[in-house]
Amino acid sequence: MHSKLPEVIYTPDSQLRHPLQLLKHMWRDLIASRELAWRLFVRNISAMYRQTMLGYVWAFLPPLFTTFTFVFLNSQNIFSVGKTDIPYPAYVMIGTLLWQVFVDAMNSPLRVVNQSKSFLAKINFPREALILAGIGEVLFNFSIRLVLLVAVFIFYNVSLPVAAFLAPLGILSLMALGLMIGVLLVPLGVLYQDIEKGLPLITGMWMLLTPVVYPPPSSWPASLLSSINPVSPLLVTTREMLTGGSFSQMNGFMIVVTGTLILLFVGWVLYRLALPHLIERISA
C-alpha cells in the first residue's frame, strides 16, 4: 500500500531538464489548484469591500470618473477627438472598461504574489491557485462594471451589433495579454520593488498612448500608436465588436493573440521555476 504513495524528489537540477515531467506537474497542479483558487477568490472578494461604506460602488467609481473627465474635456473642446461611431460618453466608457480589464490583469499576478508572500514562504500549495484567484477577481470586477456599460448602452440607445457575441473573446484576449505581461514581471517584481513602483507610472502613460478615449489615428506617425502598441489591436477590435463597424485591425489582433498565448505559457513555466528562488530570497 505504501509503495503507491506519490513520491516527490527535490534536486538542484533545473526542472527544464525533464520537460515532460514538468508539463505533467504543471497540469496536475493546475487541476489541483482549482478548489484553492476558488476559496481564495471567495475570500478576496468577500473581504474586499466588507470594511467599506460604499461597498461595490468602489468597483464602478474609477471608470466612471475617467469617463466624466474625458467627456468633460471633450465637451469643452480642450481635448478633441473628432467624430466617433457612437455617442462619445458610451465610446469612452467602453474604452475605459476594456483598458481597465487589461490593467487589472497586468497588475494582478504581482499583487497576489506579493500579498501572499508570508504564506508562500511557509506553506507548499499549488502556486497556480494564486494566479487563478487573481484572474477571478479581475473577471469579477469587470462583470460588476458591465452593469455600467449596459446602463450607458440603454441610455444612449446604442444597439448591439451581431458581432457583439464575439466580444467575450476580445475581453479574454485583453485579459490574457495583461496576465502574460504581469506573470512575466513576477520574478523581477518580487525581487525588486522598482517594478511595483514603476507600473502605475507606465500604465498611466500607456493609457494615453492607446486609443482608449480616442479613435485610432490613421495618419503617420501617430498611427504608430496602434501599430506598435500590442494593446491597441485588441482594444480597438473588441470595441468594434461591441459597436459595429468593420474590423480595422484584425491582422494585428491575430498576431497579438498568438504571441500572447505563447508567451503566457512561457510565463507560466517561468513563474513555476522562479518561485523557489524567489521564496529563498524574500524570507531568508
Partner: protein, 401 residues
C-alpha cells in the same frame, strides 16, 4: 523494507546570502540559469554567501520522529523548508513520499476581516484539505480550538492565542504521511499545549514527524532520532537522545558569567570538590559535592545570608541552597573560608552554572554576586526532562489476587 521510508535526505546543502543586494541579484541569475537549463555555480560560494545547511543526510520511516535542535540560525528552519519543497537544495537530493503536512505557519492565509468560520475554509484549502473534508471536520475543528463563541466574529478581534488555536485546530485535521513541525508548541496556554502534544502523538503513530524545537523536554518526549545542527552542519545524529541533548548544550558553553561587587566586599577562590577539565568541574550524578570560597567583608554587617544557586543551560534556576541569616560571626576583618557540602547531588545530568550571592539581611543590600561564574557538568547515563531526579528505593512484589 524500503517501502516505509517516507523521507530521505541525501547530502543536502543550501547556501544563503548575507547581503540583500547580492542576494537579490543572485536570485535573478539563478532564475536565468534555471530557465537556461544550467545548473552551474551551485557548488561554490559567491561573495557574501555561506552554507545555511551543509551535507545533511537522514532517513525517516512511518512512526518515527526526528528532532532537529540547534542554536538560532543553525539551519533548522531552512532544512524544514527544503523538505517541504519551498526552496530547492543547492546540492543533494531530497525525496518525500505521501502527503506532507506542516504545523508551521499556523493560520496562514487568515484574512483578518473574515470570520473564523470563513477562515477555516480558506486556511484548510491552503493546507490542501478539500471542501468535503473541511465540512466533515468543521465541528471538530471548532471544538478543538475551543472558540465556538467567537467562530462567527472576524478573526481580527481574536487574541493572538485564539488565532493560533484555530490555526492549530485546522492544521491538525490533516492526515499527513509526513508532518513538519516548527516550534509552534511554544504558544498557547498550558492547557492547550498539552492538547497539542496529544494530537501530535496521535498523528505520529501513522506518519513520520520532523520536529524543530528549543524545548528539550518536548524533544526527549517525542523524538526517536535527534539531529543537532550547528551552523548548518550535523554535529550529532542518532537515537541516543540524551547524548544528543548534551551535545546541543555543549554548543552554548560560551557563557561568561558576571560578577557584581558594589562595595569593597569580595568573594574569591571559588573551588569545587570535583575534578576539573578545562573551565568546568565534572561530577557524577548522585555524588557528594562541596563548594568552597573565601569571603572578604570590609564593613560591619551583623547578619549576612549566603545562597548558592544552580542554573541549567537555559539559565533557569533549578536548585538552591540557602544559609539563612548568619549572625554569630564577626564578618568584618579576616577573610572567612566558607564550605558548603551537599551529600548527594540529584540534579539531572547536563550542564549547569553556579551562582553565589551574599547579602546583608538587615538592609537587604548585595555584597557580592557571582552570577553563573562557575560551570558544573553532571555526568550520568540518562536524561530526564525534569531538573531533579531522585534516587528512590523501588520495591516491587507480586500481589495475590
Amino acid at each position: 523494507m524500503n517501502d516505509d521510508v517516507l523521507v530521505t535526505a541525501d547530502n543536502v546543502s543550501k547556501k544563503f546570502c548575507r547581503d540583500l543586494k547580492n542576494s537579490l541579484w543572485y536570485g535573478v541569475s539563478d532564475i536565468v540559469g534555471e530557465m537556461a537549463c544550467r545548473n552551474g555555480n551551485r557548488l561554490e560560494l559567491r561573495t557574501n554567501e555561506f552554507w545555511a545547511v551543509k551535507d545533511v543526510s537522514f532517513e525517516l520511516r512511518r512512526g518515527e520522529c526526528l528532532g532537529l535542535i540547534g542554536p538560532n540560525g543553525a539551519g533548522k528552519s531552512t532544512l524544514l523548508r527544503l523538505l517541504n519543497g519551498l526552496i530547492k537544495p543547492d546540492i543533494g537530493t531530497i525525496s518525500v513520499r505521501g502527503r506532507v503536512g506542516a504545523l508551521i505557519a499556523l493560520g496562514a492565509g487568515f484574512n483578518p476581516i473574515l470570520t473564523g468560520r470563513e477562515n477555516i475554509y480558506v486556511n484548510g484549502s491552503v493546507l490542501g484539505l478539500s471542501k468535503h473534508e473541511i465540512d466533515r471536520k468543521l465541528d471538530e475543528i471548532i471544538a478543538f480550538a475551543e472558540i465556538s463563541d467567537f467562530i462567527d466574529a472576524p478573526v481580527q478581534t481574536y487574541s493572538s492565542g485564539m488565532q493560533v488555536r484555530l490555526g492549530f485546530a485546522i492544521a491538525v485535521q490533516m492526515e499527513p504521511d509526513v508532518l513538519l513541525i516548527d516550534e509552534v508548541l511554544a504558544v498557547g496556554d498550558a492547557g492547550f499545549r498539552g492538547k497539542c502534544y496529544n494530537a501530535i502523538y496521535d498523528l505520529n503513530k501513522n506518519c513520520a514527524v520532523i520536529f524543530v524545537s528549543h524545548t528539550m523536554q518536548h524533544v526527549s518526549r517525542l523524538c526517536t532520532f535527534l539531529m543537532v545542527l550547528d551552523r548548518g552542519k550535523e554535529s550529532f545524529y542518532g537515537t541516543n537522545i540524551p547524548r544528543g541533548i548534551e551535545k546541543y548544550m555543549e554548543l552554548f558553553d560560551r557563557e561568561q558569567g558576571l560578577v557584581i561587587e558594589p562595595g569593597a566586599s569580595k568573594i574569591t577562590n571559588i573551588a569545587l570538590s570535583a575534578p576539573r577539565t578545562g573551565d568546568h568541574y565534572e561530577i557524577h550524578y548522585g555524588d557528594a559535592l562541596s563548594i568552597q570560597f573565601d569571603a572578604h567583608i570590609e564593613q560591619t554587617h551583623p547578619s549576612i545570608e549566603i545562597s548558592i544557586g544552580i542554573a541549567n543551560q537555559s539559565l533557569e534556576l533549578v536548585a538552591q541552597c540557602n544559609s539563612g541569616p548568619v549572625t554569630n560571626i564577626p564578618w568584618k576583618g579576616k577573610a572567612k573560608r566558607i564550605d558548603l557540602s551537599i551529600e548527594k547531588l540529584h540534579i539531572t545530568p547536563g550542564k549547569y552554572y553556579l551562582s553565589i550571592i551574599m547579602r546583608d539581611c538587615n538592609t537587604n543590600t548585595m555584597l557580592s554576586w557571582h552570577h553563573l561564574t562557575t560551570k558544573l557538568t553532571v555526568r550520568g547515563h540518562f536524561y530526564s526532562p525534569a531538573p531533579i531526579a531522585y534516587e528512590g528505593a523501588w520495591n516491587i512484589i507480586s500481589v495475590e489476587q
